[in-house]
Symmetry: C2
Subunit: 193 residues, 2 copies
Amino acid sequence: MPKMKEQIKTYFNRYVEFDDAEIDAIYEKLEEKTFKKKTFLLEENTICRHNYFILKGVVRLFYIDAKGHEKITQFAIDNWWITHMESFINQIPSSQYLQAVEDTTVLCLSKHNLELLYKEHPKLERMFRLVTENMLIANLRKSDIYLQMKSKERYTFFVEKLPDFAQRVPQYMIASYLEITPEYLSELRRQRN
Amino acid sequence: MPKMKEQIKTYFNRYVEFDDAEIDAIYEKLEEKTFKKKTFLLEENTICRHNYFILKGVVRLFYIDAKGHEKITQFAIDNWWITHMESFINQIPSSQYLQAVEDTTVLCLSKHNLELLYKEHPKLERMFRLVTENMLIANLRKSDIYLQMKSKERYTFFVEKLPDFAQRVPQYMIASYLEITPEYLSELRRQRN
DNA sequence: AGTCATTCTTAAGATATCTTAATTTTTACC
DNA sequence: GGTAAAAATTAAGATATCTTAAGAATGACT
């Protein structure tokens, strides 16, 4: 079994037990792709056709605000799904960009194939229900916590809870994600030491 | 068909088409309950056993922060589901409270019954996948938008987008939800007029 | 209608965070 | 290894928001 398929299998079986035939059928609908650093998986105003499973790499989701600044709303690394949910689920134009932060290899699951798979494999529906529930929980936590925390706490929290991200992502991107100006984040870091 | 069952049927069919027999089977697993204003549906440190579908009323989800202040993280009114997701899904003690903001009638769906229903009705699994996706999208939007907005924008946005909530919930609760002190919200409102 | 509890408002001083602009450090590439 | 581009730091002044404390308005119950 190719390494990629192993990786997907391990991931899937964390949620629901699939047998090899099922994994094969699902894997067949996935397309492997590599994106060089800084290339876009999705651009603003286009419909997000895929949900991406990151085999290796880092991807960010961001939009450009009224002042022309990039606002990062999500990061994803190895073994995470990333897409612009609203665009992907409803197949409407995206308000955000998906971009590789470093060279990144993904498995692409198209909306079309996903719907086909749901029909043939109810287990997959269960898996994505569980995955979506986990994403929801994570996001609820994020908004509960981040909205109430001061900048410094958000930064400390981020570095502690997501060290893998903190290491692989430049500081100004972390600042953007945490809604802190890079200048102020720099000052906070100085205070800490 | 009783009014409650009609309401649930209408709601369910927005997502997936169920026939009357299926609605009956599901409805049977739901327990109707009324909570007087200010009573708790869930207290901190207890496991949230139910997902609540609000037939009529207003419920808030909140926790007590380090300074002893209530921090509201969610509101729900008629035709919304509310629960403490993390506690309900993983059946672990809740860090938050669920409380009726006004007299509220709900349908209680226990975790146990939900799992039973999933097994017998794959359509329900689909429905909750879709419901969960919508919740996720709404929450992603909330964190994208609220974290970047200034207090005044958050308030304006809230009042415009959720007028039903804004009318039925006291101002100091809105302030808590938007992470603004009631005093400052009061000042912002004055500026606006 | 009267009273108590709840909710909302006002204002002054304190703190957190941003803005701008310039400087230094690090990284990427020829 | 040298140079341009990208990223991080520093500092001063401006703004947003909080804290505290007090008072006013509203609502609930007898």
